[in-house]
Symmetry: C2
Subunit: 166 residues, 2 copies
DNA sequence: CTTGGAAAGTCAACAAGGCTGACATATAAT
DNA sequence: ATTATATGTCAGCCTTGTTGACTTTCCAAG
């Protein structure tokens, strides 16, 4: 409705402060919804959002190293280590010493870990699926385009390459 | 590119688990970018993201009550109070006793508060503007449609009505 | 073969910002 | 008068982030 500019050359109607504020608040409220379902599940166990993130990215790139995970998640190794330790102790993640470089630890989900991953991502995907279906393919395409343009250039690398970072 | 389904009735190509995973990670990485700039500014003062949120919504709905802010932010009053107290002490927010109902406190930004708000939202808007410009009006429309579909119904209320919640 | 440095783990201390529970106060509503 | 509401506050807890210091392991370059 707003996407036909009055003047010819530059279409600026979607770049007004009001439109930008709308976008900012949309991100804020949507992110709340985005994390709400997994958070509810995690709250019942001794885990939090940080555990979910670790599990997600280990599942996505099995055999990834701690350093890779660090860069992807953007936290300190001490912070990640605390989370990782409990997940390993609880038997959700397996840490294998590297064969080529034995300093490295390669991370894998155990059967139990995969089970929790499924449970969490099923909940998250259900909401994403509902939103995608409601919005339609065109909107989904735009959604991804804008989000990608909002990322930091380095994070963008993780967004694309992650399967090769193992 | 992916938005033409093979079969006629239901277009499901953008609802595959892989597409949903992409959407999930896009949210994760984009939110990092979204908060990065204000976070850098806040880190230099004694403030955090919670202060930013309070300032943002007080600026957006001047005179809003504590209870309204509570519902919008989705935190406990103890948590909000800690943040609000420092902002009032530091002279960024003014708390006026209600005229009709003297139990209520109406919140306003002071000149100094408006100054910080500008600084923070300028940084955040700059990134949002760059992303919007890069992605184009069509994408922006889709972006907002999907985000709105991702919100919880109640949060949706806050997204729309907030100017009337004062 | 020694040594420098990278990768990983660990310990300690701290801070932000969530949470619950309990309680106080002022005011409104019944 | 009593009850309900809005707010503030104290105390204590948890998760998850931080920094800094230190150790162990081990690859690789000299």
């Amino acid at each position: 409705m707003d996407d036909t500019a009055g003047r010819g050359g530059e279409n600026l109607l979607f770049l007004t402060d009001e439109q930008l504020r709308k976008g900012i608040e949309a991100m804020f409220f949507a992110y709340r919804g985005f994390t709400a379902d997994p958070d509810r599940i995690l709250a019942q166990m001794a885990y939090g959002r940080a555990h979910h993130r670790a599990i997600h990215f280990v599942n996505r790139a099995p055999g990834t190293t701690v350093n890779n995970l660090l860069a992807t998640l953007g936290v300190t190794k001490q912070s990640l280590n605390r989370v990782l330790r409990t997940l390993i102790e609880d038997g959700l993640i397996e840490s294998r010493v590297g064969t080529r470089d034995k300093r490295e630890r390669h991370l894998f989900l155990t059967d139990e870990g995969r089970e929790l991953e499924q449970k969490l991502s099923d909940a998250q995907r259900a909401r994403m699926r509902a939103a995608f279906r409601k919005a339609g393919p065109e909107a989904v395409s735009g959604f991804r385009t804008v989000l990608e343009a909002m990322m930091d250039p380095e994070l963008l690398r993780h967004f694309h390459n992650d399967r090769s970072t193992m």
